[in-house]
């Protein structure tokens, strides 16, 4: 015992000394030698080094013939009945690994809460009307040749730390996203190639240009959000560490206070009482709760249990298992009216759930095999029996883009006869002892079917059992989501069950998934023949490694086209070509979302907005604290309310 007794006081003294040292260091730091870096001059030098990109003019230089729009005629978003106040309790799957908005680890499940759904852009697409309503901009105008958008910024706009948002923050946006400090190559590429100029006329007037004329140029420009220059004064090589846990000032309604970050456990967003847009049209009836408390609960069944207890306000019931089994309409909480169940049919491009066939793999480069696999994959059974007929079969990889979607194409149905026919065209004629087809060389018709979606594991086993009937073997591989994504990005997969989320845009993108630039390094030689030495290009979204010269040429024309008719025609022809290529097996789309919510979570009368992705995306709900108290009391006393199981199908399209 003695040595410890001596050791303890010594340790305490040491701790005390270091603690004191720490304090004094902190005090002296601001005046010390290694004061915080300041990049103001570096930024100016950068602007000067790229005079074509960063221009400075005066208001007198603005063209006279501009037609200014402000979108103020659009309908209000949200309900005037909404009450401010209360706390919303929700779940985070994982604690964010950083508070940075870009750079390594920033693209996690926390990002929507501090970036995607809660920050303001210059203008936003109206979720019912598809045209723009004002955010940080007060009005905008598109130039005659449709390559430049002029924007008048709202002078009232403020960052959450009170600093006004000015034109400089938009210039800085390009410095920031073009710099290599942020370690984010996609941003470097996008902001370096998809924009050609930004001009500052005065503190509240700018214009931004894009390289090619596009029908939806307004979305390219109005969708930009400024970057707070004053906050990133210390931007440098150590960006990733320096800004790891610094909260970025926001133009939006919610802020994160340092004391509300409980690492690994929870994080709370607080509504900014001084939010500059709180009384603006389109914004005033949204973002109603005072606080949003997000706690980390990894396991979905546990989240559901918390929801049933009332610790969490809402729970997504998209999976049939939850909608029909775990929270059936007969459930006591539903029947007593404590929990409301809602189905909302929305309209927007859907995530592309389907099988992505890597055509660079042996056998899969054969179109007959691919067509056969299409016919041997029984998605309809999955939809009917596993998803209980709630979902519908996806038709093409570019569904949901209105007239840009091919009007007649449909995915190939499950058809053993046709599958066998195509497989036999490819030389697979005999069935082996286990019923799987083999060819003359003795190879079996067997491919790895991988996914990173643990929740869809059962879907794969169903597809496997069905494919065996057509003599095709799927070897199932369920990986951790990151590992699976990496595998597909490195093009090591055979067939991948995956989905890309699709932006709410006017027309589908083809370059990302289908251009040879994203399949191989130099796929073709000058004369148009296949480059025999081409190498697979990794880290792109062309998971099918499609390299077709004809398609490349169509995609290039499509990307450069300024005529909607030409683009429509190209889009349909590309969809047909891809259909014949058969390297994507369309899976299913979910034409609605379903949610269970406690009685105190209130929604507008028509529930939500046409193009909404989820019930919470546009923050039109509110928490009624009075009802919450009453409901909790009623649950204890046994008092009941009329059950609420509502279907909102005003936007149902099929």
């Amino acid at each position: 015992m003695r040595p410890i007794a001596i050791f303890l006081p010594v340790m305490c003294t040491v701790l005390l000394i270091t603690a004191c040292g720490g304090e004094s260091d902190q005090e002296s730091a601001p005046t010390g030698v290694d004061a915080a870096p300041d990049n103001t001059q570096e930024v100016l030098d950068y602007y000067a080094s790229k005079p074509d990109f960063f221009s400075f003019k005066t208001v007198a230089d603005l063209p006279d013939d501009l037609v200014w729009q402000d979108g103020m005629e659009l309908a209000e978003i949200g309900s005037p009945k909404a009450k401010k106040g209360g706390t919303q309790y929700a779940r985070l799957q994982d604690f964010p690994r950083t508070l940075r908005l870009v750079g390594p680890d920033s693209n996690g499940s926390f990002r929507p809460w501090i970036l995607d759904d809660t920050t303001m852009q210059m203008g936003h697409r109206h979720p019912n009307e598809f045209v723009f309503y004002p955010g940080l901009a007060s009005s905008w105008a598109v130039s005659k040749e449709r390559k430049t958008v002029y924007v008048k910024l709202d002078p009232a706009a403020r960052w959450s730390d009170g600093v006004p948002i000015k034109a400089d923050d938009y210039l800085f946006l390009f410095f920031f996203f073009q710099s290599t400090y942020i370690v984010a190559p996609w941003y470097n590429n996008w902001y370096g190639t998809q924009y050609t100029n930004i001009t500052k006329y005065d503190d509240h007037t700018i214009s931004i240009s894009v390289p090619e004329v596009k029908p939806d140029i307004d979305s390219r420009v109005l969708g930009l959000s400024p970057v707070p220059q004053h906050f990133y004064k210390e931007l440098g090589d150590d960006y990733v560490e320096r800004y790891q846990w610094k909260y970025v000032p926001t133009s939006g309604p919610y802020i994160v206070k340092q004391e509300d970050i409980r690492k690994g456990r929870s994080i709370t967003l607080t509504r900014n009482d001084d939010w500059w847009a709180k009384d603006k049209k389109f914004w005033r009836y949204r973002y109603n709760t005072d606080k949003i408390h997000l706690s980390v609960i990894r396991d979905t069944p546990k989240v559901f249990e918390s929801f049933k207890r009332g610790d969490i306000d809402q729970f997504g019931l998209n999976l049939a298992e939850y909608w029909y089994e775990k929270l059936p309409n007969e459930d006591a909480d539903v029947q007593n009216g404590y929990i409301h169940k809602t189905v909302f049919y929305n309209q927007r491009p859907r995530p592309t759930y389907g099988l992505w066939i890597n055509t660079s793999k042996p056998h899969l480069d054969n179109v007959d095999i691919r067509v056969g696999i299409n016919y041997a994959t029984n998605w309809q059974l999955v939809i009917d029996k596993f998803f209980r007929g709630d979902y519908v079969r996806m038709k093409t990889g570019a569904d949901g883009f209105g007239e840009f979607t091919h009007p007649t194409l449909e995915a190939r149905p499950f058809d053993i006869g046709k599958a066998l026919e195509h497989f036999s065209n490819a030389g697979f004629t005999e069935r082996g002892p286990n019923g799987i087809l083999i060819n003359e060389a003795g190879q079996t018709l067997s491919f790895t079917l991988s996914t990173g979606y643990e929740a869809l594991k059962d879907v794969l086993t169903i597809l496997k059992e069905e494919a065996a009937k057509a003599g095709l073997e799927y070897r199932i591989e369920v990986l951790d989501s990151t590992a699976s994504w990496k595998k597909a990005q490195e093009k090591k997969h055979d067939i991948q069950l995956s989905a890309f989320s699709v932006f709410l845009e006017m027309y589908p993108r083809y370059w990302e998934h289908s251009h040879s630039d994203n399949a191989f390094d130099k796929a073709f030689l000058e004369d148009g023949s296949v480059n025999p030495e081409r190498k697979l290009k990794t880290q792109t979204n062309n998971l099918e490694t499609i390299a077709i010269r004809e398609l490349d040429e169509m995609i290039n024309r499509y990307r450069a086209s300024d005529s909607k008719e030409a683009m429509l025609d190209l889009s349909h022809r590309m969809a047909e070509l891809l259909y014949n290529h058969a390297s994507f097996i369309p899976g299913y789309v979910q034409p609605f979302y379903r949610v269970g919510s406690w009685r105190w979570v209130r929604y507008p009368d028509n529930f939500n907005l046409k193009h909404s992705r989820s019930a919470g995306q546009y923050f039109v709900h509110w928490i009624d604290t009075e009802i919450k108290e009453k409901t909790l009391a009623a649950r204890d006393s046994g008092q009941t309310f009329p059950p609420q199981i509502n279907v909102f199908d005003q936007y149902r399209s099929d």
Binding site: P301, E325, F386, T461, V478
Partner: protein, 355 residues
């Protein structure tokens, strides 16, 4: 062959006298035998089909396409449907299905949708079905078979390496012992579960399921053999100093002969007492790996996978977790009873004559 010394024979006889352990052992052996013949008990292939006067035995043969029995499809015959067809046509064709007419991978969509259904004797789903309408009894049966044989193979491999290394260390002693002990200390400090998870996550799925199970086995063995060496080493040290070993050496027996003919039979008692517990830990390890999603690749039937499904559907399908948990409890209890009995039977105190 190792000839047991009379003392060991006495111990084995004593084991028979401990009823609880002995009967557990008998039950387990019966279970193992039954699981070897599992295809005859739990299978969706018929045992015997009599079609147009010819007898077919599809259980162990290559698959029979539907066309073999006059059906219109070229994939594997659905024998349950065939039975109804035979009964309807009444042409004297008949077939005999196993007691549980399901295979562990088959989604039995007799209902409209895939969902867990409670146990039902009428449907012959004696323990109900899981979330994708697969028969739980079939999955449990084959899952247990895999777990049992996996753990037996695991035990055999671990003991082979552990005994060889441990005996060598104890017998040769000196620098060899010293160096190997240090190596083992370092090796055994690598966290076993993490290593299995890491190694197994990088194995490509292009390998067939049996290969992947074999790899999992190898990885687990690699990180588990060390503890056995300590016991073997000390036991061998002890036996080495005995007179009979010295005598054998004087006669001129080789090291190999001394270790395997003389020392090993005398230390077998120590080994045997550990065996059941090694099996218990192997079953637990593979079940927990499956539960975490790092074990046997889907759709291989496994106890861990069923447990995971069961915990996720506690409210809606309690029969899943009950079956899986019940099986695990029974299995582990049986093995533990055997272990306890072996330990008691081999307890040296029973036979010591020291006063």
């Amino acid at each position: 062959m190792i000839r047991f010394n009379p003392q060991t024979v006495k111990k084995l006889r004593r084991f028979r006298e401990i009823k609880r352990g002995y009967y557990s052992f008998v039950i387990l052996v019966l279970l193992l035998t039954a699981s070897l013949l599992g295809e005859l008990l739990v299978n969706n292939r018929a045992l015997i089909v009599s079609y147009q006067g010819t007898l077919f035995f599809p259980t162990y043969s290559a698959f029979h396409p539907g066309t073999d029995f006059g059906l219109d499809y070229s994939y594997e015959t659905n024998y349950q449907n065939l039975q109804t067809v035979f009964e309807r046509d009444a042409r004297g064709d008949w077939l005999l299905m196993p007691i549980v007419p399901y295979n562990p991978l088959e989604n039995d969509a007799s209902e409209e949708v895939f969902r867990p259904t409670p146990p039902s004797i009428a449907d012959q789903h004696y323990l109900g079905t899981d979330t994708t309408s697969r028969d739980i009894l079939a999955r449990l049966f084959y899952g247990t078979r895999i777990a049992l044989f996996f753990s037996l193979a695991f035990m055999a491999a671990v003991y082979l390496i552990g005994i060889a290394t441990g005996c060598a260390m104890g017998y040769f002693g000196g620098a060899f012992d010293l160096v190997f002990q240090r190596l083992i200390e370092i090796w055994s400090n690598i966290p076993f579960l993490y290593m299995v998870i890491i190694v197994f996550s990088v194995i490509p799925a292009t390998f067939s399921v049996p290969t992947r199970i074999a790899i999992l086995l190898i990885v687990m063995v690699l990180f588990s053999w060390t503890s056995m060496t300590y016991y073997m080493r000390t036991e061998t040290y002890k036996e080495k100093a005995r007179d009979y070993t010295a005598a054998a050496r004087i006669i001129g027996a080789s090291d190999f002969r001394i270790i395997f003919r003389h020392i090993l039979p005398n230390v077998i008692a120590t080994l045997v007492t550990f065996m059941p517990f090694t099996i218990v830990s192997a079953i637990t390890a593979i079940t927990s790996l499956d539960f975490l999603g790092f074990g046997l690749p889907p759709p291989t039937p496994s106890l861990g996978e069923l447990l995971k499904q069961g915990t996720a559907t506690l409210r809606t399908a309690p029969w899943i977790v009950t079956s899986a948990f019940g099986t695990l409890v029974i299995l582990l209890t049986l093995v533990t009873f055997i272990g306890e009995a072996v330990r008691e039977a081999f307890d040296p105190k029973k036979f010591t004559i020291y006063q």
